[in-house]
């Protein structure tokens, strides 16, 4: 089976300062994959490199066994919520419709079917009631749902998400997780940058542990071990690790922020 994403000896640098060295890994199809690592480990960089948003210093990435350009419409990218200006004069529906622009190409305007798909995407993230709301008047969680709806409107097979759970309320976090599992259930693949070690083993079935280089990658059971996490986080893994392992032992996860 061709992997959804493949990294081969990927090296990326900012201002000639390398931030990712020689990453070799695959993300299997139909997996819910988390990218885990400390701040500044290069997690977002890894996703941006796949999307061709950063110049790659060495190595390559492939999507569904080929270059991204061959299958761009099968991939949806969800940037960090903080990367855009939420005062921009558009409403939630306008943002979700942007998910259709890639398929439309130049010179075509969104049609009825595109609007229907966008409305359906808003429905899936329970945001239909806010379709006409100017986006600055949405809460952080609602803004993240709008971003997710935009990705859903792309009708992709692979979703790359940059910190989808940062700054969202507990209800949104649960709604997003359910949605991601739903996507995977229908044969989709998700790769998400994730910060919270306590929830990582619950949300994901596959993990990439990185800290400037790849520490480990594989199914959660094999990779989410004290030893490998220690290696990823160095000395910084103390309280977090205990919480994480407690979280692992409990089958029913309770959000600590509740």
């Amino acid at each position: 089976m061709t992997p959804a994403v493949e990294f081969h000896d990927l090296t990326v640098s900012y201002d000639r300062k390398p931030v990712l060295f020689g990453v070799d890994a695959v993300v299997p199809e139909k997996s819910l994959c988390g990218i885990i690592g400390p701040n500044g480990a290069g997690k977002s960089t890894l996703i941006k490199a796949v999307m061709g948003l950063l110049p790659v210093e060495g190595g390559w990435t492939q999507v569904f066994g080929g270059p991204l350009d061959k299958c761009r419409q099968r991939v949806a990218y969800v940037p960090q919520r903080s990367s855009v200006d939420w005062d921009f004069p558009v409403n939630a529906m306008d943002v979700v419709l942007m998910g259709r622009y890639g398929r439309l190409g130049l010179f075509k305007r969104p049609e009825k079917t595109d609007r229907a798909i966008a409305a359906e995407a808003l429905e899936k993230v329970q945001m239909s009631a806010y379709a006409d709301r100017q986006i600055s008047q949405l809460s952080g969680g609602q803004q993240q749902r709008v971003f997710l709806a935009r990705a859903l409107a792309q009708q992709a097979d692979l979703y790359l998400m940059d910190e989808p759970f940062t700054g969202v309320d507990a209800a949104t976090e649960r709604a997003i997780v359910t949605l991601l599992q739903d996507i995977r259930g229908k044969g989709g693949t998700i790769v998400a940058v994730h910060h919270d070690l306590t929830t990582a083993p619950v949300y994901f079935d596959h993990l990439l542990l990185i800290n400037l280089r790849l520490i480990a990658s594989g199914p959660v059971e094999e990779v989410f071990t004290q030893e490998l996490l220690q290696k990823t986080y160095g000395g910084r893994l103390t309280v977090l690790s205990e919480m994480a392992f407690k979280g692992m032992k409990k089958p029913e996860f309770r959000d600590p922020r509740e």
Binding site: R72, S83, F88, G102
Partner: protein, 316 residues
């Protein structure tokens, strides 16, 4: 005591409002029409500049077109419109390329990079003018305020409208530029929207972000150089003021465009009559009136907000 003119001349309804439309026709019509035909595309382009946080790139380009104009003249020995527009667009694109290059390759932020790029290019233009085109006359007042007042006296075109006589060339050139901007902004509306809001996402979805960026800069150079001759470097006011005023009233892009066009037109009309009253260059009074519109919109919004807050406060 010397007899000085009063700071504000007495307002005369006849002189400021009536006379221009009765005694100075069709000159007034051509002037106002040209100004509106420049102000409207400036307002539309300006909206995107404001949203992309590059409002002062218009200012930068209005300076850095100079070397482009001079080089186009030196290369082709022709002051024809086509050569001048070509030179200006090339210089405008060079400015943006230089700004982007400086921000990418150094630690400079875009405001500093903009300052470096356009002053250097402007200085280069001054050098070229002085060194190679000693007989070309660069009028400081013209650069500042343009020559809106001289449009009725400028070169006429071959088109004639009844008793008003031949339409000045300037009107037709402005119309052409306005149509070009209007059509292109319409055609690329969705790309402009998504690249302004979320360039990272846009690129990931396959939208040509760079093409849209440089296309927008080329259009900006086109409209800046067309306006420069008429309103001088106050073109920046035409770019920034209507959209900034409109954003007090709406949070939707389509309405922002519509309102900014309305404010561009009222800005020209109000500014023209303000100029007839105060007897100042029309371009200056248009910019001044635009500033007054902005101030009034701001104050009005503040007043409305505090009135609403007072309404919401529970009665004791």
């Amino acid at each position: 005591m010397t007899n000085r003119a009063p700071l504000i001349p007495p307002f005369s309804w006849h002189q400021a409002i009536v006379e221009p439309w009765t005694d100075h026709q069709p000159g007034t019509l051509w002037m106002v029409l040209t100004a509106i035909l420049l102000a409207v595309p400036c307002a539309l382009l300006g909206n995107y500049l404001i949203l992309r946080r590059m409002a002062l790139v218009g200012d930068a380009i209005s300076h850095s077109v100079l070397p482009g104009l001079v080089l186009a003249y030196l290369l082709f020995r022709d002051l024809g419109t086509g050569y001048m527009l070509g030179g200006a667009i090339a210089a405008g694109l060079l400015t943006t390329l230089l700004i982007d290059f400086l921000t990418a390759k150094t630690k400079l932020k875009s405001d500093a990079a903009t300052g470096i790029a356009y002053t250097t290019l402007f200085a280069l233009g001054m050098y070229l003018v002085n060194r190679y085109t000693s007989r070309v006359h660069l009028d400081a007042e013209c650069v500042l305020f343009g020559e809106l007042e001289y449009i009725p006296l400028s070169e006429p075109s071959a088109l004639r409208v009844g008793e008003w006589g031949f339409i000045p060339m300037a009107v037709l050139i402005s119309l052409g530029a306005a149509l070009a901007v209007g059509v292109l902004l319409k055609v690329f509306a969705k790309e402009l929207k998504v690249t302004s809001f979320d360039p990272g996402f846009a690129r990931s979805a396959g939208v040509r972000v760079g093409f849209i960026h440089y296309g927008l800069m080329a259009l900006l150079s086109l409209i800046v150089v067309t306006s420069l001759e008429r309103v001088g470097i106050l073109v920046v006011a035409l770019l920034v003021l209507p959209g900034s005023t409109a954003q007090f009233f709406t949070r939707r892009l389509a309405r922002l465009h519509l309102l900014s066009v309305i404010f561009a037109v009222t800005g020209v009309l109000g500014g023209f009559h303000l100029g007839s009253w105060l007897l100042v260059p029309t371009a200056a009074s248009i910019a001044l009136w635009g500033g007054l519109q902005f101030g009034a919109a701001w104050m009005g919004t503040l007043a409305l907000q505090s009135w609403r807050r007072a309404q919401m406060r529970p009665a004791r």
